[in-house]
Symmetry: C2
Subunit: 334 residues, 2 copies
């Protein structure tokens, strides 16, 4: 019998919050790499909020995953067999082969990792896409100044937890919003946030925000949207900046919910509100990774990986991440 | 009997659309200018959308007008008597003395006008605040590129009609949204807009916008907010820019209405949405006025003044402007 490998395919377009049955776990023969390809064995898979958008079937900034397609996503792994001059068996690589135990991947889409510089899993987190999302998405759009007040929603996630720490490095006062008391404790006691609160137990976001931001809010890094964001806008100061990174509170709604109109605040407070996809700064990732690595080395940035063991648990991990079960970067260890 | 002059005071905080009875027309003795002041006789008064915000009693970017206060606003007039070395009787001046037939005004708050360079009324319109709002608010925030598609709401107003013409000068394709067929005709046939439609007779804004903007929208200059703006957002192209100048559709609502959430579009299309108050570019008005005057002279910009005669009709003119009765800049000739 030929050796087999498992993969997750999209089985159904999720309605509302995805279910495990929206994904099918299948076995295929281990693929043979063609010329220019390498066979990689997955070490870690990433599950990220953006993937929810890819499986809706609506083209936004990237092509949707269709029913029957292997799920997309970043992964790190080790080269088993190489038909590409740039890689040799044993090399560790970062790529975008999705939810597969093994895959034949074009060498030109892979990045070689040096496992002696940093654990390879960091290429999916603090030194990868989420790290660059935090670094560029916050610094380039919010342009934070020392002494300013920064609010981060989804603050205990892979991106938010880094944004808050970068804001502290830049001399800001930082307030995090997260969904469990444990996360709130971690933000304040381990990561150095000046304040944080649990939106699931807060009864009045506006009152809570006024309490922790008595002089208003200068920068808002938004991962969640919805009611939390609605409460932030009226408290933004003149010339406030809003970096729109995610709107996870809305990704699983079966029908969009209306909300208060935010443009009147944008007008009278002269706000700048900007959305981004991190790939727009792709040409500058080297700069971002070097700076994040330096801060990590100096102990100025901490990062946490929330690791689910076992390839077969990838869909479950993805759903858990959408429900806010993770603290820090959610990964699947294969 | 001492000579008298009339003024309008705020009599009541309007609920919803202002009524004439929210203002009281009063007679006072003509004031005597103190040292440093000049006595001015008003030639033209400006009525502008921003004034609606000033009479709500809520401090936004400027202090509110209180009950019993003279209504604020820009005006041009002629000096009757000067106790300020910078002005002599007969000089024409621009100032901010509000809805008064005559006023004693600090000389340092006045700007001398040269009536030989341009009609003095233009200092309240194309060469004044509305002109600078269009010039800086569009160019600085939208940064339009040749060939881009620009949509302007409130397109036949003092600001919108100039924005569209500036966009044409910059090589854009320009679509205007206005509230009467006459305005639409003026935009397309006189001002050179590429297309325009009447939102009061259009039944489906989205369908109409798709028809006139088949390749999407790159820049949106928003004077109105509300349902029109809701229809524009989904059609904005990647890296689209939105300049939030006004939200007039909401100024007279007794209770804010909810609307569709717009941040998801801001995210996936990487939009930049920025609100502004024109005073932020005050230090550069010289540059803006020189450029607008040049375009006027070259015939590249047309402007229209919608003039109501008689000081006693100022409140009526203001209400009419809020209801969209004006085409171009609404002025009261005293």
């Amino acid at each position: 019998m030929a050796p087999v490998a498992r993969q997750f395919k999209l089985a159904a377009r999720p309605v509302g919050m995805p279910k495990e049955s929206d994904f099918s776990l299948e076995e295929i023969p281990v693929p043979a790499p063609a010329d220019g390809q390498v066979l990689v064995k997955t070490s870690y898979l990433s599950v990220d909020p953006y993937m929810r958008g890819r499986i809706t079937g609506v083209r936004s900034y990237a092509d949707p995953v269709n029913i029957g397609d292997v799920m997309v996503g970043g992964a790190v792994g080790q080269v088993v067999e190489s038909h590409h001059s740039g890689f040799a068996a044993g090399d560790f690589v970062l790529g975008y082969w999705g939810w597969q135990e093994q895959a034949a991947v074009d060498g030109k889409t892979l990045l070689k990792l040096n496992p002696n510089l940093a654990p390879i899993s960091t290429a999916l987190g603090v030194l990868g896409m989420p790290g660059m999302t935090a670094y560029f998405g916050f610094l380039e759009i919010c342009k934070p100044q020392p002494g300013e007040v920064v609010v981060v929603s989804g603050a205990a996630g892979a991106v938010g937890s880094l944004v808050g720490q970068i804001a502290k490095i830049k001399g800001c006062r930082v307030v995090g919003i997260a969904g469990t008391d444990e996360k709130v404790h971690w933000l304040v006691n381990d990561l150095g946030f000046d304040a944080a609160f649990n939106y699931k137990t807060a009864t009045d976001y506006t009152a809570k925000l006024k309490e922790v931001c008595p002089s208003g809010i200068d920068c808002y890094f938004d991962n969640v949207g919805g009611a939390i964001t609605d409460s932030v806008f009226p408290l933004l100061n003149v010339f406030g900046r809003v970096s729109v990174c995610g709107q996870i509170s809305m990704y699983n709604l079966e029908k969009p919910e209306p909300g208060p109109r935010l443009l009147p605040y944008t007008l009278v407070k002269q706000l700048k509100v900007e959305g981004f996809i991190v790939t727009r700064w792709q040409s500058r990732w080297g700069e971002g990774i070097a700076q994040m690595a330096q801060w990590l080395k100096e102990g100025k940035i901490q990062h946490r990986e929330d690791i689910v063991e076992g390839f077969e648990n990838t869909a479950k991990a993805f759903i858990g991440m959408l429900q806010g079960e993770n603290t820090g970067k959610m990964l699947v260890k294969v």
